[in-house]
Symmetry: C2
DNA sequence: CTTGTCTCTGCAATCGATTGCAGAAATAAT
DNA sequence: ATTATTTCTGCAATCGATTGCAGAGACAAG
C-alpha cells in the first residue's frame, strides 16, 4: 500500500536532510534556495549541500507550490496540435522553458472551442505560473479572464487588436507586401486573396496587408477580390478558390493568407483543369514543412514559428518573474520563399 | 502583494464551504468526492453541494495531490514534437485525457537525448500519475526506471522487444507485407529497403517484416538489399538511397520504413536524374499529412496515429486506476494507400 | 432497560516546503 | 563594559485537502 508511494518519489524530504546536516528544516530550505542562501552561513550551506547531494534530495514542487502559489509550470493553449505550425511553436516554447526548469502543460482545444475557458481553469487549478495562448481571436474573452486573474500570459501567432497582453506575431502586413510585390513584379495585375477567418488577427491583418500592398502598386481594389474562409483548411481554401474564380474569371494570381488555404487552391485548380503556375500563380503563407515537395513547390512567406515560440517563452518568463514591463508586441519579420507555384501570367 | 495570489485562484476553500454549509471540512471533502459520498447523509450532501455551487468552489488539485500523491496529471515524452506523426498522437492522447479530467504535460526531448531521464524526473517531481513514452529504443533504460519506480507507463509508436510495459504500436510486419505485396504485384523483383534506425522497434521490425515479406514471395534476400539509416530524416533517406542505388543498380523499387526517408529518396532520385515511378517505384510508411500533394503523390502504409494516441491513453488510464492487467501490446492494423509513386517496372 | 450494531460527523494529523517572527550569538559602536 | 546592531538559526504557522480514528446518536436486538 504505502510502498507504492514511497517508491514513486525520491522520498527524501527537507526534514531528513536537515537531520543529517544537523540543522533545522527551515535552514535547509534557505540554504538550498538561491534567493535566500545569503541568510545562511557559508559553512552551513556547504554542509547542507553535501548532505542533500549524498541523499539525492529533490525538492518537491507540489509541496512548494502549495505554500508559495508558484509551480514552475506553464500552460500552452493551442487550437489544434495537428496543424503543422504549432509543432515548431511548441518546440520553441518548451525548449526555452526546459532550460529554465519549467515544465509545459499543453492543452489542445481541438474541436470544442467553447471548452477553452474550462481548459484554462484546469490549468489555473494546477497553479500554472503563466499561459501562452495560441488560440485567441481578435477580441477574446479569454484575455479578459487572464487579466482579471492577473495571470501572466503571452499571445503567440495570433494577437488581439488592442495590446492588452504581450504578443509575438509575424509581420502580417510585411508578409503580404512581399507576396504582392513578387506577384506584381512577375506581371500580375489582377490578384485575388484567400483571406483567413476575420475573427483571427492573422486573417484580418493579412487581408488588410494585402489590400494596402495592392494599393501601393496603384492597382484598384476591384481588381483585387478577396474571399473569406471560415477556417485554415484545404477544404475551405478549395471552396473559396472556386468562389474567387467564379466571380473574377480574369484572375491570374492568388495570394493566400495561409499555406493550407493555398493547397486547397491547388485542389480547386485541379478540379477545374487549370494548371499552376501556367494559368494561375499561387502563393502561400507560413512556410510549413514539406512545401518544397508538393507539386508545384509552393512559393510562400516564411515565418519562423520556432523563433516565435522561443520569444513568447522569453516574454512569459519575464512577465512571471517581474510584474512590470508593459504589454508590448514582438513582431517578427517574414521572408519570401520563391518556389515553383508563381510565374509570369500568360501574355 | 497578497492580492495577486488571492485573485489568481478561486480562493474558495473547503473550510469556507464547510462553514457555509454548517459542517466540518472533512464532511465537505467526503460529500464532494464520488468515492466517499456514501459516507455522508443524503441531505447533508445536498446542502454541501448547494453551498459549493453557490460559492463556486473548485477543489485545489495541488493540495489534494500533496496529500494523496495523485495529481490528475500525465506526462508524455516525445522525441521531436515537430515531426508530424506526433501531432496526431498527442491529439489522441490529450483528447482522451481531457475527457477524463486529466491534464497532459508534454516534454519534448528534442536534440538532447541524454536529458530524457532528467525530463522524466521532472515529470515525476510534479507527481504525474503516469507516463506515455513515444521515445523508447528497443531496450530502454527509461523503462527500467519507470518499472523500478512502479510508475504506470505506456509505450506508443515504438515498443521494446520484451513486453515489460504495455505498448500501442502498428503492425509493422503487416505494413511491410502490404508494401511488398503491392510492389511484387506490380512486377518488381528487385526491391530495396530503406531501414529505420535499428535501435527503434519500428526500424527493426519493419526491416524484418520486409525480409519476411520478400521471402514469402520466393524472392532471394540478395535481391532485396537493405540500407540502414541513423534517423528518420530526408537527409538520411537521400544518403541511404544513394548507397542503395550504387550497390544495386538494377533495383526497380524501394520500400521505405518511413515517409520522410521516402521523401529523401525522392531527393536522391532527383539528384541522379532518375524519375519516380518510371525508373524507381517508392513506397513510404506512416501516411503523414500532405503526402497526397507531393510529387509524385506517395504510395504509403497508413497508420492511424490519433487512434494510437487514444488507445495508449486508455491503457494508461487503466494502468493508473487499477494496478492489475498484465502488460500487453495493442497492435493496430495498417493499411495500404496507393498513390502515384508506384508503378510497374519498365519492361 | 441494557447492550450491541450502524450510520454519520468531527477531530486532528498529515503531505513537504516556505516564511514571518523572535531569540541567540557575534560583532560593532559608544 | 554596556548598549546597539548585525548575522544567523529555530520555532511554528501556513498552504488546502484527505483520512484513520473515535465519539455521538439512532435504532434494533436481547
Amino acid at each position: 500500500m504505502e510502498s507504492d508511494k514511497d517508491q514513486r518519489r525520491s522520498n527524501v524530504t527537507l526534514k531528513q536532510v536537515a537531520e543529517r546536516a544537523g540543522v533545522h528544516a527551515s535552514t535547509v530550505s534557505r540554504a538550498l534556495n538561491a534567493a535566500t542562501r545569503s541568510m545562511v552561513a557559508e559553512d552551513v550551506v556547504a554542509r547542507v549541500e553535501k548532505a542533500a547531494a549524498q541523499m539525492g534530495y529533490r525538492r518537491d514542487p507540489v509541496a512548494a507550490s502549495l505554500r508559495t502559489g508558484r509551480s514552475k509550470l506553464v500552460g500552452v493553449l493551442v487550437p489544434d496540435i495537428v496543424n503543422p505550425v504549432f509543432g515548431p511553436i511548441l518546440s520553441g516554447v518548451s525548449e526555452l522553458f526546459a532550460s529554465q526548469g519549467y515544465s509545459v502543460i499543453v492543452a489542445d482545444v481541438g474541436n470544442d472551442e467553447n471548452r477553452q475557458l474550462e481548459l484554462v481553469q484546469g490549468l489555473i487549478a494546477h497553479r500554472v505560473d503563466g499561459l501562452i495562448l495560441a488560440t485567441v481571436s481578435r477580441d477574446d474573452p479569454l484575455v479578459d479572464y487572464c487579466l482579471s486573474r492577473k495571470l501572466p500570459a503571452v499571445l503567440v501567432n495570433r494577437a488581439e487588436m488592442r495590446a492588452r497582453l504581450p504578443a509575438v506575431i509575424s509581420d502580417d502586413a510585411l508578409g503580404m507586401q512581399l507576396a504582392v510585390d513578387h506577384l506584381v513584379e512577375l506581371g500580375h495585375r489582377t490578384i485575388g486573396h484567400l483571406a483567413g477567418p476575420s475573427r483571427h488577427s492573422t486573417g484580418y491583418l493579412r487581408r488588410r496587408g494585402f489590400q494596402l500592398a495592392i494599393l501601393s502598386h496603384g492597382i484598384e481594389l476591384q481588381d483585387a477580390p478577396c474571399q473569406d474562409t471560415l477556417a485554415y483548411t484545404r477544404e475551405e481554401g478549395a471552396a473559396a478558390t472556386h468562389r474567387l474564380l467564379d466571380a473574377s474569371p480574369n484572375l491570374t494570381a492568388i495570394a493566400s493568407a495561409n499555406d493550407l488555404l493555398a493547397l486547397g487552391a491547388y485542389d480547386a485548380l485541379r478540379e477545374r483543369g487549370l494548371s499552376c503556375p501556367a494559368d494561375i500563380s499561387i502563393i502561400g503563407h507560413n512556410d510549413m514543412p514539406m512545401l518544397d515537395l508538393v507539386s508545384p513547390a509552393l512559393t510562400t512567406v516564411r515565418i519562423s514559428h520556432k523563433q516565435m515560440g522561443r520569444q513568447a517563452g522569453q516574454l512569459l518568463q519575464a512577465a512571471i518573474e517581474n510584474n512590470d514591463s508593459p504589454p508590448h508586441n514582438v513582431v517578427l519579420p517574414s521572408q519570401l520563399v520563391v518556389r515553383a507555384s508563381t510565374a509570369s501570367p500568360r501574355a
